[in-house]
Assembly symmetry: D2
Homo-oligomer: 411 residues x 4
C-alpha cells in the first residue's frame, strides 16, 4: 500500500466491538491495516485506546477510507488543518467533500478547533464567518465554502458527557436495545422516567408517530400525553393526521372493531372526504379554531400550541393542506423543529422514523416502538448513540406510558 | 329509516362474499337494509343477482352509504341522471362530490351513459365537453364542473370482459392470492406466461421495485428482463436508483456479503457521494450517456429507451436529480406513465406499490411479491380485480422469472 | 353425477360467508352442487336457511364430501340412522369412519338423537352403552364400535345458546378478531370482563403460555393473576417452566437487559443446571414444598393448588420431571384437564396453542395473544366459534390484564 | 474477589467480538475480570491471543463462570486434571457436573488429553474405559462416572482444521449469515457447491424439513434431490410426512391454489383419514411397498433406502405409525442418525431445526432457510460454527437448488 495514515480511537473498544467494525470497513473499502498499539485497560471500567495504520493504493481511496471509519469515532492521529473548496454549482458538493457523521465534530481552522453546529449525518460542512455547520446536498449553493477531505476534522464519540444527562437506567438498558426478549413493562417505565427527567431539564420531547397510533386505539392515550405536556413536537405523515381527523369528524360511523381495514377496498370515500373538508377549512388549525374538529390528537396539539410537521409521501391521498408535498422542504421543516429536542419517541412508523434518524444528532436519545423486531433493531442501530428498542404494539405501549406519566389517566 | 333506495348487484355473490361486505358496510355507516330479492343461480357457473333496499336517517347519509357500497359494484336500481356542481376553490371539491372507485364507471349525462376516462379510486369526476374523467383533489380548479351525489353514476364489476384478456391460469389463481401456502414456482411460471401474453397483445408491463431488488442481488436478473423488453415502465424511489448506481460506480469496493447493512451506521459516505456524482452529471441519463455509469438496472433502462418515474420520500438522502421531490407532482408523472399498461409487477416495496395501487384502474392485473405475507395480502386485497400474491424474496423470484422469460439467462 | 344428497344449513349465511365455503369445498373434493332453496331473511337479524343438492361420481366420495362440509354446520336434510362398524385393530379406525368436527354433535341411534360427549375435531365416534363420545385414533381399541359414514350424524352450529353465556361485547368483537388494526387496550378490557364473568358462572379459566411470558418480564403479572384465582389450569412446555424456575433459582445472576439471548450460544449451562436441580428434587411440587423454589409462576400454581400440564417437544433440554415426554400421553392429560373450562387464554406460544385448539370444543371462547399477526389469525380462525385475537406482546398484555383484574396490582 | 483463575483464548478476537462476549458473561454471572495480556496480531491474518484473570466471590460461582465462558472457546491457562463424581440416581447429574458445549473438547485423564466423542451441547461427560463421551441428562444412570467442575476440560475453537474441509466461499459467506440483505441466488449456488463437495468427500447430507416444503409446492424439487442422492437423512415431524402422504393418496382432490389453508377449520377429515390409512398399513415403508403410496418425498426416501426420523409434537393428529411419540426417544434416534453427517440443510421448520441444532456438533456446517429473518438469525447464531442463513421461501429455494444439483431438472 503506497499511501497510509495513522488513526486512533478511544473508548470501550471491547464492549462495543467498534474496533472489529473499523478493521472490517478498511478491508471492505479495499484498504489494509496494521494495529500499531492497543491498550484495552485492565478492568471493565478502564477506557481503551488503539492506534492503527491504514493503507490504500491511492490517496483518494485512503481519504475515503478515513472518512468512512470516522463513523466509528476514529480520527487521524495527526489531524492537520482543514482544507476547503468552493462549490461550483447549486445543489452539488465539490468532488471530495467531507461527508459527515451525526457525531459531535470539530474542525481545525486557523489553528482553532471549531465545533460543528447541528451535527447531522450524510451532509457537507459549510464554513462561513469562522463558524462551521452541516449542510445537506440539496441546500448547498454555488460559492459556498465546503470542507474537503478528512484533514482537520475530528469526531468525538459520545461517552461520559452525555451519560450524565441521561437517566442511568435508560443508558444501561440502551446497550441491549434491539431484542424481543426484554421485559417491556420495565422498558416503558424507564422511558417514562427518562421523559420526565428530560422535561425537568428544559429539553423538548419529539414524537414521531405512524397511523397505527390511531388505528390501534391509542389516540386517547396520546391525546392525554399531549395535554399533559409530554409532546412538544410531532412528526408524522398525511395518514396519521387524516385518520385522526376522520375519527374526529365521522367517529360514530366507523366504530370499534370495524372490519373495513381488512376488506377489499376500491376506494375510501370517508378518508378522502375528510381530506376535502380540511382543505376547505384551509388548515388543521383553522378546522380546530372554527369548531369543526373538537377532539383527537391534532386537536390537542393545536389547542396546546405545540408544533407538528407533516411530510407527505407518494402514497398519500389529498393530502391535507398542512402536509409538505415537497419532501426536501419537509426535511427542512423537520430540521428547524429539532432545536431544543432532548428525547425522541418513535412509534409505529418506519418511514418518518428513518427520516428523523437521518437528521438527528447522535447525542439525542431515542426510544423506538414497533411490533416488528427487525424494524426496531434497524432503527436503534442506525440513529442515536443511546437508543432503546421496545418490541410492542402502539396501543398497549401508549396506554401504559400514559398511565405512568398522566395523573388520573384511566385506561 | 326515513330515506331509502333500492340497489342491485350482479356477479358471483356467494363465491366472493361481496354481499356480506355490502350489508356490513351499510350497518357500519349507520344505515339499515332489507334484502328484496336474491337469485344465486343453481350451479357454480350461474351468475347471481340481488336487490336490496338500503335506508338511512338522512338523505346525505343515504348518499354516502350508496357511494360507499359502490366499491363492491352495487348500483342504484334506478340510477337517474347525474347532478353536477361547480368547484368554488382550487384544490377543493364541492361538499357532496361523488368519490370514485377504481372500477369501470359510467355517468348518465343528458340521457347518455358516458364512460369515465382513466378510472382511479378516491377521485372526483370532472365533466367537460360531454366527457367525464377522474380528477384527484389536488388538481381540481375553481370553476370545474364536478359530479355530486350518487345519482346517474354506475360502476361495472370486472367479470367476463377482462377474463378474456387474462391468461386463464392467472385469473383462476388470483382468486386465492394472499396466502403463504402456495406453490411459488408455479406462481412464477404463471406470471411469466401472463407477461408474455400481455406483451403479445401490445400492452406495456409496469414494474414497481424497491431497493431490496438491488440489495438481494437481483439486479442482474432485472437488468436482463429490461434488456429482453419485459420492463416498459419502472416506478421506484431514490433508494432503488441510488443503490443501483452506487454499485455501478463503486461496485468493487462493497462486494458480496458485505456486512455493512447490519452494522451501526452514523453516515453512509458512499451513498451520498453517489448522489452527489449524479447530481454533478445532471441526470441519470446524462451519467449513462457520458459513460460514467456503465451497468445496472438504471443503465439498462436508459439504454433501452424505457421510461422510469422516481418519486422521493422524506427519508431520502440527496436525492438524485431525476427524483420528484414533490409527491403530488410525482403522482401526476406516474399517472401519465400508466397509459398502455396491461400488467403490473410489484416487488419488495410497500410505499411505491401502495402508491401505484392508488392510481391503477381495477382492470389492470397485478402481481405482488414480498417476503412479508401481511404486505402481500394488503396489496392484493386493495388494488386490482385480479391480483396474484407471491410470498417470496425478490432475489429468487427475479432469478426464476428471468430464467423463464430470457433465453440463455444463466442463473 | 350419479350419487347425490340434499343438505341444509341454517344461520347467518351472508355475514359469515359460510355458504361460499361449503360450495368451494364441494368443488375442491371433486363434487358438484345445485342450490335448491335459499332464504336469507330480509333484515340483518333474520336467520337464513339454504338447501343444496350435492353430487359426486361415487358413493364413497359423496360420503367424504358430506363429512367435509359438516365442519361448516351443513347436515343432510334427511339424516337417517347412524351406521356402526367394529374396529379391527388397536389404534386404527374402520375405513369409512365418521371424522368429527369440534361442534356440538348429535347421533341418531335407535330413533333417538344422542348428544356426543366431549366434542373434539378429527376424532372418531365410539358408541357404548347407548352413549356416544369422541375418541382419537391413537386411543381406539380393537372391538370398539365406531360410527361410520355420515348417516345419522348432525352438527349444531353455535348460535344463540352460547351467546347468552358470553359477554356481549366479547361476542361482537370476536367476529372481527384476526386483524392488527384493533384498539388493543379495549380488547384487553373485554377479555378481563369476560374472564370475570366466566369465573362468576363457575367455569374455569385455562391458560396456554409460552416462554416469552417469562422472557418478556411478564411472570410477575401472571403470578399475580394466579394468586388472584384467574388461572385454573396452565398448559405449556418445558421451556416455560424451566425459564421460570431458572429465574427463581438463579434470578440475580441474569438480570434485566441480559444480552445473552441474542448472542452466539453453544450451550446454556444455567438452563440445564436448573433442569438437573428439579430432577434431583423429584418434581416441581417437591421443589416448591422443600423450599428450594420460592417464587415465580410455577411456585404460585403449586401454592394455589392449581393444575398444570407440561408437554414436551423434540427441542427440549432435560426435560423437567413433570414434563410428559410422550406427546400422546400429554394430549390425554390435556383432555382430562379441560373439564369445566369456560374460557381459554393463549399467550405467546404457537405449538401448545394449536395443540389446545385441536382438542377444545368450539363452544369454549378463546383469546389469542401474539406479536405475530399471522399466528393470531391462524389460531383464531382454527379453534373456537368465538375467538378474539390480540396482536400484542405478552409483556404489556399481561401487565394491563393484571391491572384490570387484580386489585392493588402495581405495574 | 477471593477466588480467581487465569484463562486464555486464541483466535480472531477482533473480528468475532468474542472477547467482548466473554467479558460480558463474566460480569453477567456476577464475576469480575482483569485483562492480563492481549496480542491482537498486527495484520488481518494474524491470530490473536488473550489472557484474562477471572474472579468471583465463591469457588462454586467461579467454576460456573469458567464453564459458561468455555462456550466462547476460553480455557483455563493451567487446566489441571479432570475430577469425577458418581451419579447417584437415574436421570440426574451430580450437582456440579461439567455442562458441555458443542465444540471439540478434550479431557485430561491420567495425564492424557482424551477427546470427547460426539460433542453435543448441554450434556454431561461420562467417563468409561478410558474414553469420554457426552450424555444427556435423561440418559445418565446411577453409578455412571461423570466429569465435575471445569478442571481438566478444554475446548478447541473451530479455526483452520474445519475450514480446509469447507468450500472457501461458503466459509467466508457464513461469517455474514443472518441478514436479509444478501444475494440469495448466489447463496443457493454456494450451498449447492458445498453439498457436492461434502458428498464427494464421503459425508452424508442431513435435511431438516417443515411442512411448508410440501405446502409451498416444493415437494417435487425435494423428491428430485432425494432421487439424485442429495438427501441421506431426513428429520421432520408428523405434519411434513402426513401432508406429503395426503397429496400422494388424495392429490387430485385438493389441487393447486386450494383455498382451504386459509379458511376456518373445525376439522380436517382428509388429513386424519391419511393418518388412519397409513396406520392400517403399519408403516410408511409398508404403505410404499404395498403400492398404496406411489409418489412424493416419503416414497422417494423409502425407495432410495434412505433413513428418516420423524418426531412427534403435542399438536400432532394421529400420529403416523413411524412417528416417535416420545420426544426423548426421538432425540436418541436423531443422535444415532447423525453419524457421518457432514452438512445440514434446515428448511422451513423452527421446532425440528432447533432440536437438530441442539444435538449437532459445532463442526458440521449448516444452511438455514426460512422466510422469517428472526428465525434464520436465531438458528444460525445458535448452532454450527459455520452457518449460512438464507431468508427465502422453501418453494423457490428448493426449485433453484434442484436446478443446480439435478441434471435435467425442469422447473
Amino acid at each position: 500500500m503506497r499511501f497510509h495514515e495513522q488513526v486512533e480511537v478511544h473508548g470501550h473498544l471491547m464492549d462495543t466491538g467498534v474496533l472489529a467494525r473499523v478493521l472490517d470497513d478498511v478491508l471492505a473499502y479495499g484498504g489494509d491495516y496494521r494495529v500499531d498499539k492497543i491498550d484495552l485497560g485492565r478492568t471493565h471500567d478502564d477506557e481503551s485506546h488503539a492506534v492503527v495504520t491504514v493503507g490504500a493504493e491511492s490517496a483518494s481511496r485512503l481519504a475515503r477510507i478515513l472518512m468512512r471509519v470516522q463513523v466509528h469515532g476514529v480520527n487521524k492521529l495527526v489531524p492537520g488543518e482543514a482544507r476547503m473548496c468552493v462549490a461550483d454549482a447549486d445543489g452539488v458538493f465539490p468532488e471530495d467533500f467531507y461527508s459527515t457523521t451525526n457525531l459531535e465534530t470539530v474542525v481545525h481552522l486557523d489553528g482553532q478547533w471549531v465545533p460543528v453546529e447541528h451535527p447531522e449525518m450524510d451532509c457537507g460542512l459549510i464554513v462561513s464567518g469562522g463558524r462551521v455547520r452541516t449542510v445537506p446536498v440539496a441546500d448547498v449553493r454555488a460559492g459556498d465554502v465546503i470542507v474537503c477531505g478528512i484533514d482537520g476534522v475530528k469526531v468525538v464519540l459520545p461517552v461520559s458527557d452525555h451519560s450524565t444527562r441521561l437517566h442511568g437506567e435508560f443508558a444501561s438498558m440502551s446497550t441491549f436495545s434491539s431484542t424481543a426478549a426484554q421485559p417491556q413493562a420495565v422498558l416503558v417505565k424507564a422511558i417514562a422516567r427518562q421523559i420526565r427527567e428530560v422535561k425537568a431539564e428544559g429539553y423538548q420531547v419529539l414524537w414521531v408517530a405512524g397511523r397505527a397510533v390511531v388505528s390501534t386505539g391509542a389516540s386517547r392515550a396520546l391525546t392525554a400525553l399531549v395535554e399533559a405536556g409530554y409532546v412538544d413536537v410531532l412528526f408524522g405523515g398525511n395518514a396519521l393526521a387524516t385518520l385522526d381527523l376522520e375519527r374526529a369528524l365521522f367517529g360514530s360511523a366507523l366504530g370499534l372493531g370495524s372490519p373495513h381495514s381488512r376488506r377489499v377496498q376500491r376506494g375510501n370515500e370517508q378518508h378522502i372526504r375528510t381530506v376535502n373538508t380540511i382543505r376547505r377549512a384551509g388548515s388543521i388549525r383553522a378546522a380546530v379554531e372554527s369548531g369543526l374538529v373538537t377532539k383527537g390528537v391534532m386537536h390537542a396539539m393545536v389547542k396546546a400550541g405545540k408544533s407538528f410537521v407533516l411530510v407527505g409521501s407518494v402514497r398519500d391521498d389529498g393530502p391535507l393542506p398542512d402536509v409538505y408535498t415537497d419532501v426536501v422542504a419537509g426535511q427542512r421543516a423537520m430540521r428547524a423543529a429539532l432545536r431544543g429536542v432532548g428525547f425522541t419517541v418513535m412509534v409505529a412508523t418506519t418511514l418518518h422514523s428513518v427520516a428523523t434518524g437521518n437528521i438527528l444528532p447522535a447525542s439525542v436519545p431515542v426510544a423506538c416502538v414497533d411490533t416488528n423486531p427487525s424494524i426496531v433493531s434497524g432503527l436503534t442501530d442506525r440513529t442515536s448513540a443511546q437508543a432503546l428498542g421496545v418490541v410492542a404494539d402502539a396501543g398497549l405501549f401508549l396506554e401504559q406510558l400514559a398511565t405512568e406519566l398522566v395523573p388520573d389517566y384511566q385506561t
